[in-house]
């Protein structure tokens, strides 16, 4: 890819084997100690060194006055020292030959001209010695497979997400607080996460670099962004990079600062410029980036996109064993601009052969409350080869005694064999939630409400359109002329 020539420089942030913590501390509850703690967990198999002239060891990790005394080479330095010391520290980093640094500390450009001067010096030294820099004013990175983890948040307060065997998303966040909250949240969502990156002031490594890197990262299936804005012409370069990446991998973004009030807050927060929101909207649309209004929406869409193939068209078949769920879901699907065509008379007569006459043979297709998994089976058997539908949204209400757990097998098998995207809606309490987890382990995303499921279906259609362009079979709003 033309736009992505600096992937190598980014890789070390996630695959560092020799990490030094600059500003490591022996005092309890300090940032400098929390980071050391992350690297002495058994999951992290690389080496760690502490740097602080005050100590000879921190939590049993050997501590050196500067990087120069460390007997081995260092590839990543985590910097947690007061901003005013940063220039001296970056001289040390450069001379040691470390290729990457994450600056956790604040007190840089976000605080005013003095801090901006320090940040400029850091950038200059980084350029001089070839050190790539994430931050400053960030929480750094979590990699769920190498266990590089610079979040200075104790694990009992901020749980860490896990990689899933099914599919993983990566999150890039301008805000450190959001990155932490999302790390904590996704640990419970059952959503597989490959990497979380907090970018802070983006003095060097920016949205673009990570888009290139994650676009090429085989452990990441969907790339998610939280951004408040882009500095200077960085919005344009993100747009250019996204155009290269989105045909291969879905990219989602939550961009705050839609209203004019939020805009004022955004520019004072990280000193970023917020442009006319409609231009940002256009830029995302034009480059195939899917914009979500909030995190809830982003993760619902990301889960579907990570686990399912994109749709080849926008025709949805909604199957349900409860009338209310069928109506609610199809309302939501329609509002999102998807088509919900009735089965053709040919398909309907085939279905009538296998199903009781008291089913509702429409769309939503209601197999009614006494249905067993066999009725779903019959529908998939006929409806998939009919070619009348591009997406299958399956309402699976497990409160009824007749619907057995083999429904999960049936759904997963038809999904795999057909290669068509499936979305399951499973509403309810404990039993249902467990069933949903099982469904997801089998590779089909499952949602707690019809609206969430509909949004997931919409994302699969939208990404299908992004990927297939003209070949996407769009029947909604099709011109009659």
């Amino acid at each position: 890819m033309l736009v992505c020539d600096e992937i190598k420089g980014i890789d070390v942030f996630f695959n560092a084997r020799n990490v030094a913590i600059y500003g490591a501390s022996a005092s309890q509850n300090s940032v400098g100690q929390a980071i050391v703690q992350n690297f002495i967990k058994p999951q992290y198999t690389g080496k760690v060194y502490a740097v602080n002239p005050k100590y000879t060891n921190v939590l049993g990790v050997p501590c050196y006055p500067s990087l120069q005394e460390i007997p081995e080479s260092v590839d990543l330095v985590v910097v947690a020292i007061p901003a005013r010391l940063a220039p001296r520290v970056f001289e040390d980093i450069g001379k040691k030959g470390a290729k990457a640094a994450i600056v956790i500390s604040g007190g840089f450009s976000e605080t005013g001209p003095k801090g901006a001067e320090l940040e400029n010096e850091v950038v200059k030294l980084g350029k001089k010695y070839g050190t790539r820099i994430i931050g400053p004013n960030c929480v750094g990175v979590i990699d769920t497979s190498t266990h590089v983890d610079t979040f200075f948040l104790p694990e009992y307060r901020c749980a860490r997400p896990k990689a899933s065997n099914v599919a993983n998303i990566a999150l890039v966040s301008q805000s450190g607080a959001f990155a932490a909250a999302i790390a904590d949240w996704t640990s419970e969502l059952g959503l597989g996460v490959s990497k979380i990156i907090s970018l802070g002031n983006k003095c060097d490594v920016d949205d673009d670099d990570l888009l290139c890197y994650l676009g090429d990262d085989s452990s990441t299936q969907v790339i998610c962004y939280y951004t408040e804005g882009y500095d200077g012409n960085k919005g344009r370069s993100f747009f250019d990079t996204a155009r290269e990446i989105t045909p291969h991998k879905p990219v989602l973004v939550v961009k705050s600062g839609r209203g004019s009030r939020a805009k004022a807050a955004a520019s004072s927060h990280t000193g970023s410029l917020a442009g006319l929101d409609s231009v940002a909207d256009a830029a995302y649309k034009q480059s195939g980036v899917i914009r979500a209004d909030n995190f809830d929406q982003m993760f619902d869409m990301a889960k579907a996109l990570a686990m399912q193939p994109p749709a080849e068209g926008d025709r949805v078949l909604m199957i349900t064993n409860g009338g209310g769920l069928g109506v609610m879901t199809t309302d939501a699907l329609e509002a999102l601009g998807l088509t919900i065509p009735n089965p053709s008379s040919d398909l309907e007569s085939k279905l009538r052969e296998d199903l009781p006459a008291y089913c509702a043979f429409g769309n939503p297709f209601d197999v009614v409350g006494d249905a067993g998994a066999d009725r779903y089976d019959a529908i998939f058997r006929e409806a998939i080869p009919s070619g009348e539908y591009d997406i299958f949204v399956v309402g699976m209400l497990l409160q009824t005694p007749s619907l057995g757990m083999e429904i999960t097998n049936i759904i997963a098998n038809y999904q795999k064999q057909s290669g068509k995207p499936f979305v399951v809606i499973s509403m309810g309490g404990g039993f249902t939630t467990k069933a949903g987890e099982i469904m997801e382990l089998m590779g089909v995303p499952t949602f707690a409400t019809g609206e969430k499921g509909a949004l997931a279906a919409k994302a699969l259609a939208r990404y299908g359109e992004i990927r297939l362009g003209d070949k996407f079979n769009k029947s909604a709003g099709a011109k009659k002329s």
Binding site: G229, Y230, D231, G232, N233, K234, G235, R236, F239, L273, A274, G275, L276, S278, V279, A280, D281, A282, A283, Q286
Partner: protein, 248 residues
């Protein structure tokens, strides 16, 4: 491209970040944009003669480096149907411009005289504009004119450069898109001509990134096969000496 560069150079030399109407039309024409027939004149007699050549009715507008908002300075006269009317209008707008200068306490340069243009037949009003976004750079805006843009803000954007697919998507995604398909017995509008305008503006900005803003407002869109006309065009450029040159 050369014409645009020359015009921008001269504007900046005169201390302007806007181009005069005939200059804007010269640039538009060079990029293949359809504009009504136009000319300039420095005397009432010449204006009348040129109006006759263009054909009545015509519009007369003041041409001065010191006047950006021509209507505010009483510098626009429309629907002039004869040589007499043109001559009279010429001296009126010159008087108005002098008065405007006195009120503002500035010496208004009148040496360029007036701009004469064919009074275009009314069509469906659309706007094609360009803005420079601080994060994403140049973006092109499209919308229907009048209340659609003023009150309903029914506009859509794309980053420049655009593809023809982008242009067609823009035209079909505004809420009032049906208006262009022909409503209440009207013939469908000439959407292909509109696509050409959008593409030409996109090209113009790609080749001249010093452009800060463009307003093709109004642009009249006629029924299918009858084309379109950019009736009024405003082009604002960047002042290289002060990057954040104000546009107003």
């Amino acid at each position: 491209m050369k014409i645009a560069k020359q015009i921008f150079k001269q504007a900046l030399e005169e201390g302007r970040t806007f181009v005069l109407e005939h200059e804007a039309k010269d640039i538009m024409k060079a990029y293949g944009l359809p504009v009504p027939a136009y000319d300039t004149a420095t005397t009432a007699e010449a204006a009348a003669e040129k109006a006759k050549k263009i054909g009545f009715p015509v519009v007369l507008k003041i041409l001065s480096k010191d006047i950006l908002h021509k209507s505010d300075a009483g510098g626009v006269k429309i629907d002039l149907k004869s040589e007499e009317e043109v001559k009279e209008a010429f001296s009126t707008i010159m008087d108005n411009a002098r008065k405007y200068g006195k009120e503002k306490g500035i010496e208004v340069d009148l040496s360029r005289g007036a701009f004469i243009s064919d009074f275009a037949e009314m069509g469906t009003e659309v706007i094609v504009g360009v803005t420079k976004d601080p994060q994403f750079g140049h973006a092109l805006m499209f919308g229907l004119g009048g209340i659609f843009v003023e009150i309903l803000k029914d506009v859509t954007f794309r980053l420049i450069p655009l593809t023809e697919i982008d242009a067609r998507e823009m035209i079909s995604e505004i809420k009032a898109a049906k208006v262009l398909e022909g409503v209440r017995g009207q013939q469908p509008r000439d959407v292909d001509a509109l696509v050409e305008i959008i593409m030409a503006v996109s090209k113009m900005v790609s080749e001249n990134p010093e452009i800060n803003e463009i307003d093709c407002n109004p642009t009249f869109l006629y029924e299918r096969g009858k084309g379109a006309l950019v009736v009024d065009a405003r082009i604002l450029i960047e002042n290289p000496n002060e990057k954040a040159a104000s546009s107003h």
